[in-house]
Amino acid sequence: MATHARILSRIIPDSFKVGQSIRFNSYDATRVNLKLSGNTKVICQGFTGKQGTFHSKQAIEYGTKMVGGVSPGKGGKTHLDLPVFNSVKEAKAATGADATVIYVPPPGAAAAINEAMDAEISLIVCITEGIPQQDMVKVKHRLLRQNKTRLVGPNCPGIIAPEQCKIGIMPGHIHQKGVVGVVSRSGTLTYEAVHQTTQVGLGQTLCVGIGGDPFNGTDFIDCLEVFLKDPETKGIILIGEIGGVAEEQAADYLLKHNTGPNAKPVVSFIAGLSAPPGRRMGHAGAIISGGKGGAQDKINALEKAGVIVTKSPAQMGNELLKEMRRLALA
């Protein structure tokens, strides 16, 4: 089965694979919506469910400005001392919410994303894992042709600006406000990078988990642009994994936009170097098909772009500190 996928992967021309996935200017304009602050107002879709409740509690404890939630049929009630609404439109009108986090199970998750897009909410973070790919293709089709809403995920841990705003399931206490931008396809592997950069004293400005699904709302390049333009972000960690060509595309972007004397140091780790070919290791997106999407290709592409790629997941923080010291940034 894997061999024909391999055939197909060879067939798709390289120009389509690297650098030319369809980009719409309108959607790119929403990259700025990724910049969270202490004032970002957040609502929760799936508010009264088990996951929604647990993580909203955690978010409130962390200091995120949760302003309410959506649970169709429960509008008018209160939950966790916050108002519940029947729809995102109602919630936004009443609270002025900037962002929504979605904990709705897979059968209804795409509809929840659409509902938030209807309400023109600036940022949607969809945590749900297991949304059918066809559903996400349709969502993405709509997403790319508008310029009000940015989607992060699905199947992602979320996005956090340490000590300001936490939207997602990441453990807040390992984070520390600082100078590193972290972007990753993985959830728990992101926490490793965060933990390490906290331990070496660098801290983080913004951590974005873009998730492991093949059709999703935000990719590496979207986050890299935010990090490169943000004066507080002095270093970047990019965590990739086998499958697809997102890392190669990121490398291409860095070659064009992150060179010269003001280039920001980037450290990367690519998971799956030791994974046997043809195996799907958990993520829908993490399949090596036919020679492309393998870890070594990504490592090569990133190194060409001046990225320091570490072979050990335990050395991301150390490598970045070393490089930032070398550049007198830390």
Binding site: M1, A2, H4, R6, I7, L8, R10, I11, I12, F16, Q20, S21, I22, Q51, H55, P106, P107, E129, I131, P132, Q133, Q134, V137, K138, K140, L144, P157, I169, I174, S186, G187, T188, L189, T190, Y191, E192, H195, G212, P214, F215, I242, G244, A271, L273, S274, A275, P276, P277, G278, R279, R280, M281, G282, H283, A284, A286, K311, S312, P313, A314
Partner: protein, 449 residues
């Protein structure tokens, strides 16, 4: 008589070569790849049935569970050229062999009696191919089909492709076994037609593809086939339908001579009928057991068992073990919502593998709470009476509670906070156990207080 025999052997030889190529199993730089699990894989006859039910022309075929059925199907096919295909979910069937000695999982036969005989030797037997490993896979059904003699061979596929943010038709007039070389040497021979998911595939667009690929004389029929293919693709939440070759036979009708499907696991909840077709007899028992508890488990060849939360971290854990000179025995992602029970089951599955000499638990708790993991580990270690060393590296939500639980359990679980150290330690320990086993020594680990 001698000439006939000789040509029969030659034809069989050619067919064998072609069959394996059609199955896509042998090209110059092909590596043996294990079956992708938890990604719905259906038997060939089901692929044929799906196409047939969608109105796409396939060769006449039947599925035999007994040799008598094989004979009957062969008789009904009323042709002297019959192909028997063992229904085993692995590539390389043509070149494989059965445990009872029968050579080849794809065989040409020339009479219903021969069909009965050969099918009888296939059914209930294990077929060993490059992809199945020494154990092989059980053959419980044989597809009996009329042999086609393809003249012109085309390639058609519809797949969900990241690069196009959606579905795309891929087509070529140079289909068949060498499609990969074609792609490498003559990329212009491959055409791509992205489909707008919101609009679907129109007749005009399908006709355009038919003409571009060189089938203007068959424009209507080809467009019709493509429309049906796309309809099937959407209806079944397929991620890929590949027909290679779509070929003209001597009678100038076009047939789909081989089809591969890949389905979206995430759509299981709304494709119950389709997913009920999953043949668990074709999958590794451990991986089947794991799926029952929503654990994502893939068996590998090494001797260090891994238990991790999150696919990325699990892969990274395998990477760091390799970096320190060790060899992971498995990939196992317990996921975000695992209970203590699931963790215990995960341990059972890992330790059921006799090759495992040491275990590394690497949990970074986000949704996953470390104390839940700790409870699971303790329960498992007690119930399974584990003798092998367990290195436990925990971080994140409720980590302090977890450490207290482990310390007060009195079990031989080594807590290590640093991932590098944890990996180094587990590799060392697994080497010690290996040496001890080689020397036939019993080994006991004590943790000094």
């Amino acid at each position: 008589m001698a000439t006939m025999l000789r040509s029969a052997v030659l034809a069989e030889h050619i067919l064998l070569k072609n069959a394996t190529k059609v199955l896509g199993s042998t090209t110059s730089n092909w590596q043996p790849q294990k079956q992708q699990t938890r990604n719905l894989n259906v038997h060939e006859h089901i692929s044929y049935t799906l196409l047939k039910d969608a109105g796409i022309q396939v060769p006449k075929f039947g599925v035999a569970k007994t040799k008598q059925e094989a004979k009957k199907i062969a008789q009904d096919l009323a042709t002297k050229d019959i192909v028997l295909k063992a229904q085993v979910l692995a590539g390389g069937r043509g070149k494989g062999h059965f445990k009872n000695g029968l050579k080849g999982g794809v065989r040409m036969v020339y009479s219903p009696e021969e069909a009965e005989d050969i099918a009888g030797q296939m059914l209930g037997q294990y077929l060993i191919t490059k992809q199945t490993g020494e154990k092989g896979r059980i053959c419980n059904a044989v597809m009996v089909t009329e042999r086609k003699f393809p003249r012109k061979e085309f390639y058609f596929a519809i797949m969900m492709e990241r690069a196009f943010s959606g579905p795309v038709i891929i087509a070529s007039s140079q289909g068949g076994v060498n499609i990969e070389e074609v792609a490498a040497e003559n990329p212009n021979a491959i055409l791509y037609e992205p489909i707008d998911i919101s609009k679907g595939l129109s007749k005009e667009q399908a006709e355009k593809v038919a003409v571009k690929v060189g089938l203007s004389s068959q424009k209507d029929k080809t467009a019709d086939m493509l429309l049906k293919m796309y309809d099937l693709f959407c209806k079944k939440d397929a991620l890929l339908i590949e027909i290679n070759p779509y070929a003209e036979d001597a009678g100038e009708t076009y047939f789909s001579l081989d089809a591969k499907f890949r389905f979206d696991d995430n759509a299981g909840f709304r494709q119950k009928e389709l997913f009920a077709l999953r043949d668990w007899t074709q999958e590794d028992e451990k991986e089947v057991a794991a799926a029952k508890f929503d654990l994502n488990y893939i068996a590998l060849d090494g001797n260090i068992g891994c238990l991790v939360n999150g696919a990325g971290l699990a892969m990274a854990t395998m990477d760091i073990i390799s970096l320190h000179g060790g060899s992971p025995a498995n990939f196992l992602d317990v996921g975000g919502g695992a209970t203590a029970q699931a963790v215990k089951e995960a341990f059972k599955i890992i330790t059921a593998d006799p090759k495992v000499h040491a275990i590394l638990v690497n949990i970074f708790g986000g949704i996953m709470r470390c104390d839940v993991i700790a409870e699971g580990i303790i329960a498992a270690a007690k119930e399974l009476n584990l003798k092998m060393p367990i290195v436990c590296r925990l971080q994140g939500t409720n980590v302090d509670d977890a450490k207290v639980l482990i310390a007060s359990s009195g079990l031989k679980i080594l807590p290590v906070d640093n991932l590098d150290e944890a990996a180094r330690l587990v590799v060392k320990l697994s080497n010690i156990v290996s040496l001890a086993r080689d020397a036939k020594l019993d080994i006991n680990f004590e943790i000094p207080l």
